[in-house]
């Protein structure tokens, strides 16, 4: 399989790029516009967002590896169904694990664990990357994209929980700082669904002003 004489190191520069690119210039949410569906509804608090990110990372990395191992066997016409079955099986496993170990979070996530199946980011990366690359590279790509998806989720839920609820990971930080006695009030609006979109829009705004190459031309 290795045609070039010098075997590529496990963490060569190219492979590290697979991990770091999705963080900024190829971020799945803000640049590729994938996986927004489930990303926003569960960002009211940090805890479900963290659990969701971990589940997506696990599902993505494994799904990428499995489809990459099968890439030469899957007939082109039915590949979508094969991919869906692989992803759905992994999601069922994750769902059962969540139900067994963190039942309360699994209740909060409700249908959104199931929706990882149709999360466009997973199908998108399988289609675009793992069907044409070796398992190890696909694994790195899955971890990189999953982690950067999680990063956005955690940033959004950080702001929403801090300003909307005055807590961080259920720790009442604003109360401990004593800001309430100074007349500070929580902004309940941050907890409403539409604010997730606006927080993401601000992140996109900030990222694109920092990296002008991402600005869309009309």
């Amino acid at each position: 399989m290795e045609t070039n004489k010098t075997k590529e190191a496990l963490f060569s520069k190219k492979n590290r790029k697979l991990l770091s690119d999705p963080m900024n210039i190829n971020n799945p949410i803000t640049v590729q516009v994938l996986g927004i569906c489930s990303a926003l509804a569960i960002t009211v608090k940090l805890k479900p967002a963290v659990v969701m990110s971990l589940s997506v990372i696990v599902v993505m990395a494994l799904a990428n590896v499995i489809t990459s191992l099968m890439r030469n066997m899957i007939p082109n016409r039915i590949r979508i169904i094969v991919q869906l079955v692989v992803v759905a099986t992994l999601v069922i496993l994750v769902d059962q694990v969540l139900k067994a170990f963190v039942y309360d979070v699994s209740k909060q996530l409700s249908v959104f664990v199931g929706l990882i199946i149709t999360n466009c980011i997973i199908m998108g990366r399988i289609e675009a990357f793992s069907l044409g690359n070796t398992p190890w590279k696909s694994f790195l790509d899955g971890i990189g994209n999953g982690a950067s998806y999680g990063l956005i989720l955690i940033v959004v839920s950080f702001f929403r929980e801090l300003f909307g609820n005055g807590t961080l990971y259920d720790y009442p930080i604003i109360e401990k700082l004593g800001l309430y006695e100074l007349g500070y009030h929580n902004n309940g609006m941050m907890l409403l669904p539409p604010m997730a979109l606006i927080v993401v829009a601000v992140i996109i705004w900030w990222q694109r002003s920092k990296t002008p190459s991402l600005i869309e031309k009309d």
């Binding site: 099986t89 059962q96 466009c120």
Partner: protein, 205 residues
């Protein structure tokens, strides 16, 4: 009947797939550049939701639920297959999309060329699977209710995508800060529309 209308209206305005749950956002952002494509995908989504939600409802109540297999043989009455629901639902959706595509191609070529590339995309649209999962979570009691919910959700999605597409067409003539152009401003507008839709909360017929 009144109950059905209530579920229908509720799933359009209050539990709107896009503004309340952000389902199907990916394709929503992708096709909302013009009203025409938005209309195409919106119709296809409505169509598929109206079919898959009742089918999955039957699957859920006759096969997957705890004790649902009792009609086959009384000894199956404590079998609980609900952990299989994800894979069954997605299989039904993928198969239904394929079937709908073939039927539409055969009997309504004009509609087929209008929907065209959008039909296959629907299998991975979150709002379709989301519709089935919400149906499962809310445990509707009759198939009529499930159908009303599926149809209403589809119409709600169509409404949302038409509204944003119309706004985006007008947006070409306005001065948006460069870094916000395209994706950013669409997110903000969707957020604002979501806030507007929240005013429907509490409506009951």
């Amino acid at each position: 009947m009144q109950e059905l209308i209530n579920i229908f209206v509720k799933s359009i305005f209050i539990d709107n797939m896009i503004f309340a749950y952000f389902l199907g956002m990916c394709s929503y952002l992708a096709v909302s550049k013009t009203v025409k494509t938005g209309m195409g995908l919106g119709l296809a989504v409505t169509f598929v939701l109206t079919i898959t939600v009742p089918v999955n409802y039957l699957l859920q109540t006759r096969i997957l639920d705890k004790g649902a297999l009792a009609w086959l043989d009384p000894s199956f009455s404590d079998v609980d297959l609900s952990f299989l629901s994800f894979i069954m639902f997605i299989a039904v959706i993928a198969a239904m999309v394929q079937l709908v595509e073939m039927i539409v191609e055969k009997f309504a070529p004009a509609l087929y060329s209008a929907l065209g590339i959008f039909l296959p995309l629907i299998a991975v649209n979150c709002s379709i699977l989301g519709g089935s999962l919400f149906m499962q979570e809310r445990a509707y009691s009759t198939i009529g209710q499930a159908t009303a919910f599926g149809f209403g959700s589809g119409i709600g999605w169509l409404l949302a995508v038409l509204a944003i597409a119309a706004i985006r067409e007008r947006l070409k003539y306005s001065h948006v800060p460069p870094a916000l152009r395209g994706l950013g401003i669409t997110f903000m507008i969707t957020g604002l529309m979501g806030i507007a839709f929240m005013s429907f909360m509490g409506i009951k017929l």
